[in-house]
Assembly symmetry: C2
Homo-oligomer: 269 residues x 2
C-alpha cells in the first residue's frame, strides 16, 4: 500500500460546526481516516481580524501537518474566506475550503439563476460568497440573508419544533419572495436545520449543504491523485480540541451524527 | 452649586446591553448626566479570563474617570462578578455593580424563599449570582437557568412574537415548576423580553430587573453624599464606544428607549 494513501485527512474549524462537514466525509469517504481540529479556545473566528484568522488558520494547518495528513479541508467559513489562498500556496498538500464547492454546486444546479445564501452576519459581511458567486457566475442574481438565531437553535438542539419553524419562516419568506431556486447553507451549523428550512422554501428550491460538494470534490481529488485509501474499511476518526465548550459532547454528537470518541485536548500556538 | 454634584455618572458594559441600565437611570435619575462606555471592540467579556475582564474593566474605569465622573456603575454581569471588588477598592469614587442590588431586591421581595435566576451560560457558570445569593440568604433555594436564545431574540427585536413566547415557555416552564416566586433577570438584554417572561411565569412571580434596584441604590447614594445634581432638568447623555457593531443604532435605541445621540468612537487601551 502506498504510504501517502494510508495517511489521514485533516479538517479544521474554529468550533464544532465543522463536524457537519466531517459527517458527510464519513458518509461519502468512509475509508478515509479523519483528524479533526476544533480551535475552540479561539472561537468564533468570524469576529476576528483577517490577519488574526490567517495566523490561527496557519497554526491549525501546521498542527494537522504534524499529524501526517495528506489533504486539508478548511471547514470554517471565515477561514475559508480569508486563509484559503495562502494555505493553498504554502502547504505541500491539497487544500479545500467549503465556499468554492458550495458556489460551484449552486451555479451548476440553478435553472433561473437566482441564488440565495444564508449565513452568519460575519460571513455575509465578509462578502466571501458574494465575491465567489460574482466571479463564477456574474450573470446570476444573489440574495444574502443573515440568520443569527439559527446557530443557537442548532446548539440547543431545537431543530424541528415550532420555534425553529417560526424562525425559519421569519428569515426565509423574504428570500422565497425573491423566487430563488437554489439556497446555499453558508454556515456549518445550518444543515441541522435543513428540515425546517426545506419546509419553508418548498420542493422547488434546491438546498446546497456545502459539506456534500466538498466531500465529492475531496473524493475526486484523492482518487485522481491515486492517494485514496485503497481498502474497504470503516476508518477511525480523531478529534483534537484546543478547549472544551459547554455541552461539548451533546452538540458534537448532534453535528457529527455518531459517538464522539478519541477526543484529545491539545495546544495550538 | 458644588462642583462634584454637577459631574456625570459613568456606566460601562462590554456591549450595548448596559443601555437597559441607563434607561432606568434616565427614568429614575433624570437630572443626572450619564457617560456610557460600550467596549464593543472587546465583547463579549463573558468568555474572557478573569484577568482579562479585570484589565478591560480597569481600562474602562480609567477612561470614564478622565471624563470626570462622580460615580461608576458596572452594567456588565461579567465585570460585576470579577472586577467589582478591586474597582471599589482602587477608585476614589463610589462604584456599584448590577448583581448586588438585584440579589438584595430578590431577597427582600421573596416570600417563599425560592428564587430563580436566568442569565447567559457564562454568567451562570461564573456562579456570581449563586455565590451572592448564598452569602445574603443562605436559607433560600436557588434555581439557575441559562437562556441562550434570549440575547439574539432581543438583538433581532423579536420581543413579543410567538417565537419569543415559545422560547420563553421552553426555558421557563421548568423554573415555574420549581414554584419560585421571584425571578432575577441576570442579563442586561433580558428586560426587553420582560412581557413574554411575565406571561409565562404568571402574576405570582415577581421579576427583578437589576437596573431598577441599581438605579434606586445609586440615587440613594448620591443623595446621601449630597452629590445628586441639585436642579431639575433633563440631563444630556453621552455614548462612547470602542467599535461599532452591526445594527448599532437599531439595537442601541431599542435598549435605551430613546434616540441615540452624542455617540463617539473612542480608544480604550
Amino acid at each position: 500500500m502506498p504510504s501517502v494513501a494510508s495517511r489521514p485527512v485533516g479538517v479544521f474549524d474554529s468550533g464544532l460546526g465543522g463536524l457537519t462537514v466531517v459527517r458527510q466525509l464519513r458518509r461519502m469517504l468512509p475509508e478515509e481516516e479523519i483528524h479533526y481540529l476544533g480551535d475552540l479556545a479561539h472561537l468564533p473566528y468570524g469576529t476576528k481580524s483577517a490577519g488574526e484568522i490567517r495566523r490561527r488558520s496557519f497554526g491549525c494547518a501546521r498542527y494537522l501537518m504534524r499529524q501526517g495528513i495528506k489533504a486539508l479541508v478548511i471547514a470554517c467559513n471565515s477561514a475559508s474566506s480569508v486563509a484559503y489562498e495562502s494555505l493553498r500556496r504554502n502547504l505541500p498538500i491539497p487544500v479545500l475550503n467549503v465556499i468554492i464547492p458550495a458556489v460551484e454546486e449552486a451555479v451548476a444546479v440553478t435553472r433561473n439563476y437566482r441564488i440565495g445564501v444564508i449565513a452568519t452576519y460575519a460571513t455575509i459581511e465578509s462578502r466571501s460568497y458574494a465575491k465567489m458567486l460574482e466571479r463564477r457566475c456574474p450573470e446570476a442574481s444573489y440574495f444574502m440573508k443573515p440568520c443569527p438565531l439559527f446557530v443557537p437553535l442548532a446548539e440547543e438542539g431545537w431543530l424541528e419544533c415550532p420555534i425553529a419553524s417560526g424562525t425559519a419562516r421569519n428569515y426565509l419568506l423574504p428570500l422565497k419572495k425573491k423566487r430563488i431556486d437554489t439556497l446555499i447553507l453558508g454556515c456549518t451549523h445550518y444543515p441541522l436545520l435543513q428540515k425546517v428550512i426545506a419546509d419553508v422554501m418548498g420542493a422547488g428550491v434546491r438546498l446546497v449543504d456545502s459539506a456534500i460538494p466538498t466531500a465529492q470534490r475531496l473524493k475526486a481529488l484523492l482518487k485522481g491523485k491515486g492517494i485514496y485509501y485503497p481498502e474497504s474499511r470503516r476508518a477511525p476518526i480523531r478529534i483534537h480540541v484546543t478547549d472544551y465548550v459547554r455541552n461539548f459532547t451533546r452538540i458534537g454528537e448532534a453535528f457529527l451524527g455518531e459517538e464522539l470518541k478519541n477526543v484529545r485536548l491539545v495546544k495550538v500556538p
